[in-house]
Amino acid sequence: MDADIIIRLKNVNFFYGENQALTNINMNFRKNKVTALIGPSGCGKSTLLRLLNRMNELIDATRVEGDIIFEDKNIYAPDVDPVEIRRKIGMVFQKPNPFPKTIYNNISYGPKLTGVPVDDMNALVEQSLKQAVLWDEVKDILNKSAMNLSGGQQQRLCIARALAMKPDILLMDEPTSALDPISTAKIEELIEELKKNYTIIIVTHNMQQAARISDETAFFYLGNLIEYSKTEKIFTKPDVKQTEDYITGRFG
């Protein structure tokens, strides 16, 4: 049964200075599935996401306890290089954050600097942009600045940029919260397409979105994992009262 589990969290606690942001989290993320993390603001869902690629340690005075097992190894073990982890676990942020470079160079930036051998950079750029369903819109302006693209295009560029690293997992931190409904729909379609090849973990504050795109859903409240199950179950007959209150909009 373990074969389809890609990341395993065991008794994970996380602290910002004195404040505990996550308490005793145990959960397994499954391969080639879309897992949604939901919950009210400040519940720890984004914190958890950023734990998975060690982005949290860029903030001063943070501390992790417990194990996060990826490829049979705790990613917080002393001999693990966070940079290696981030190559295998890509991330897309809340606000589109392309570099002020050309579209082409945004994509080629990661593979070039991380020393991944690339036979044909042009092919990689094309492939990544096609995967992110952006190729047709930008194929004639690859040497134009990415800053000229619309918000939705920028976000798909950021996804393409992450895909160019050929990650195993794609973390998405509220990727559509800064976008208009049409762009949001495009990104959601894209996620549907991407899960064939990637494991996707997405934080969202939009419950309809979680219901539409995810296979599994985890509900967090005050730093605790309250309920984690198939999305269908969470949204139809949750086991815990708090979950039901949240998804029916009684709080949060």
């Binding site: 982005m55 001063d60 940079v83 290696e84 981030r86 991330m91 942020f93 954050n97």
Partner: protein
């Protein structure tokens, strides 16, 4: 609800008008002082300026001729100072903004930078004399003067670079790190290129400072008069600020050479304020065209 006396209101507004008049007066005095000085120098100096004045060396014990060696010397010293101050300052700022975490050592470094910024220029001169001229045996030379000036402008450059580095959005760094690009590559490929225009404009102010300083080069680099141009960094040079001082206080005939003095002052002012103006204009332009 009680009525505020009309006379009280009137008094309050009178008070305000008086205060505002005072404030406007202060702003006016400062503007007039600067404008007056610059205008005065232009009016008195412009007649001395000619192609020969700028391109010929002084003659007749510096009572006639031009100031070319002094202009050249100032350029050498300034270029020398910036090539020492810029790399050191930028590297220092990179540590402070990109690597440093709050703590005693950082606090100490910051106090150190502030104190260095407050060291009087003549003390820099003494330091340059004792250290570079005497201990390192550079003699009074372009090298000793450049080193002294380079350290003098270090705090300016660190400050400007820190500000420029901080203005690069955090999201750029995050995006790069999340791709698995290492920290130093992120700094060199993303942070530094985006901070560069800001670093350069800030540093231009440092250049202006270096070009105008007199006391630090008096004992470390500046020559009263040399007929030949410097052949190496170990030679003394004439410099515009020091040349002004010499002409105004120790020349052969101080009153007679006033036009040359004004001309030299005008050249220095034009050089220094020109450099500053460029920085101010570039900065205004950059603010307007900010991409993020």
């Amino acid at each position: 609800m009680h009525q505020i006396q009309a006379s009280t209101m009137k008094w309050r507004y009178l008070q305000q008008s008086l205060f505002f008049a005072l404030i406007r007066g202060a702003a006016l005095i400062i503007t007039l002082a600067l404008g007056g000085i610059i205008l005065y120098i232009i009016i008195h100096g412009i007649s001395a300026i000619s192609w020969d004045f700028i391109t010929k060396p002084p003659t007749h014990s510096m009572t006639q001729g031009g100031i070319m060696p002094a202009i050249l010397g100032t350029i050498y010293l300034t270029v020398g100072a910036i090539s020492i101050g810029l790399p050191l300052g930028v590297a220092s700022a990179i540590y402070l903004t990109e690597y440093a975490r709050q703590g005693r050592v950082i606090r100490l470094i910051r106090v150190g930078i502030n104190c260095l910024a407050g060291v009087p220029s003549v003390v820099f001169g003494l330091f340059g004399l004792a250290f570079f001229v005497i201990i390192f045996k550079f003699g009074s030379s372009i090298l000793a003067g450049s080193l002294t000036l380079g350290f003098l402008i270090l705090p300016t450059i660190i400050g400007a670079s820190e500000e420029a580095l901080k203005s690069v959005p955090k999201t750029f760094r995050e995006a790069s790190l999340a791709l698995g690009v290492s920290k130093w590559q992120t700094i060199f490929r993303i942070v530094l290129p985006n901070a560069l225009p800001g670093i350069l404009t800030g540093s231009i102010l440092g250049i202006g400072r270096a070009a105008g300083e007199t006391a630090p080069i008096m004992f470390t680099a500046a020559a009263f008069f040399t007929s030949k141009l410097p052949g190496s960094v170990f030679d003394e040079v004439m410099a515009l600020p020091y040349h002004i001082y010499v002409l105004a206080t120790a020349g052969t005939n101080i009153e007679e050479t006033r036009p040359i003095q004004y001309g030299t002052v005008l050249v220095l002012v034009a050089l220094v304020l020109g450099i500053n103006m460029i920085a101010i204009i570039i900065r205004a332009y950059m603010r307007r065209n900010k991409r993020w």
